[in-house]
């Protein structure tokens, strides 16, 4: 490789919860290079104090999401070539979450909402019972499969303007998880789930903006799951009235 080294102009958001601004760096370009590689190159070679978060580096843990040229993305699996505009790259912390420092956000609200949406299993059996036979093609299971591979990366949460505008809104990932719980024949407490998602910050706030589904790196479709919850909520509304 005798070609002369090409550089990428990267502007990176630096700051703390109170203030911040973009700083510019020149990063050598490589053939196989992800946004995460770019960010860590800066930390390892140019500015040792740059903060960011990652763990698995293969798109499984959902720790590394950032705004890349204005779009929320998993940085460990976003090839630079895919997003490069000219030779420029702009990296910022994920939207809709408080910043801890530089590119690191505080994801607690995201997970608090996940739990508030009752996005967890309510057991109907114990470890002493045999494993239930459930046909993979059964209706509920098909719905669940469509949404279960969520890595809670919060990309959808960052993409959704309803989250921006309404701080109570549980957000696409939590609601999608609730939808999978609701469809689980093993779950003992679906009404709790439905109550949790039909309240003030619940599924009815979703305006089907669809940014969640468009930007989910795993091609999941939270918008669809939320529509399912809306249907279930409406049905139970009529059933209770009638």
């Amino acid at each position: 490789m005798s070609t002369k080294q090409e550089n990428i102009d990267v502007s990176v958001w630096r700051g703390d919860p109170h203030s911040g601004n973009y700083e510019n760096f020149k990063v050598p370009a490589h053939e196989s290079q992800t946004i995460l590689d770019v960010v860590s190159w800066i930390q390892q070679n140019q500015d040792a104090t740059l903060s960011y978060r990652y763990a698995c580096r293969v798109g499984m843990c959902g720790s590394c999401a950032m705004m890349v040229n204005g779009i929320p993305r998993w940085t460990c699996r976003t090839h630079v070539k895919k997003v490069l505009k000219g030779k420029k790259l702009e990296v910022a912390p994920l939207r809709n979450l408080p910043v801890i420092k530089d590119l690191v956000t505080d994801m607690d609200t995201f997970f608090d909402k996940w739990i508030s949406a009752e996005g967890l299993h309510h057991p109907s059996k114990t470890r002493l019972d045999p494993i239930e036979e459930i046909e993979p093609k059964s209706l509920g299971r098909v719905e669940i499969n469509a949404g279960i591979e969520c890595i809670n990366c919060s990309i959808c949460y960052a993409a959704c303007d309803t989250v921006t505008n309404n701080s109570d809104y549980l957000g696409p990932a939590a609601l999608q998880r609730a939808w999978t719980v609701y469809n689980d024949v093993k779950d003992a407490d679906k009404q709790t789930v439905l109550n949790a998602v039909s309240g003030d910050g619940g599924c009815l706030n979703c305006h089907s903006q669809g940014s969640c589904s468009v930007h989910c790196p795993n091609d999941l479709n939270p918008m669809n799951a939320i529509a399912g919850l809306k249907r279930a909520t409406a049905t139970s509304f009529f059933n209770r009235k009638g």
């Binding site: 505008n165 619940g202 809306k230 909520t233 509304f237």
Partner: protein, 109 residues
């Protein structure tokens, strides 16, 4: 957004859907046939059918728009609680009033 508002907004939308379609169809048909506006008025005035038609529309639209604007205002200006409700009621009543007068004008007279 709670379930009552949500359901009201969808139900009013469903009610309005055929009404708007009907309204627009009539307009197109009427104008196409070379009828003047006054002739339409002539037709609608004094008709209970049209009173019901437009009356329903006005009630539905007042509720629907009030809820819709309520959402926009709460998301954009972060209105909450009483202010928000008061605002929505104001929109609803204002629409009802304006719309009501209009319906009366075109159907009763």
């Amino acid at each position: 957004m709670n379930i009552r508002l949500y359901m009201l907004q969808r139900i009013t939308a469903l009610i309005m859907a055929p009404l708007t379609l009907g309204h627009i169809a009539v307009m197109i048909y009427a104008v196409q046939d070379g009828l003047s506006a006054s002739e339409i008025l002539g037709r609608t005035q004094g008709s209970n059918m049209w009173l019901l038609f437009y009356g329903t529309f006005v009630v539905a639209v007042s509720i629907h728009a009030a809820i819709g604007v309520r959402v926009i205002v709460s998301e954009t200006f972060k209105f909450v609680g009483f202010t928000l409700d008061a605002f929505a009621w104001f929109v609803c009543v204002a629409m009802l009033f304006m719309g009501g007068r209009a319906v009366l004008a075109v159907t009763l007279l």
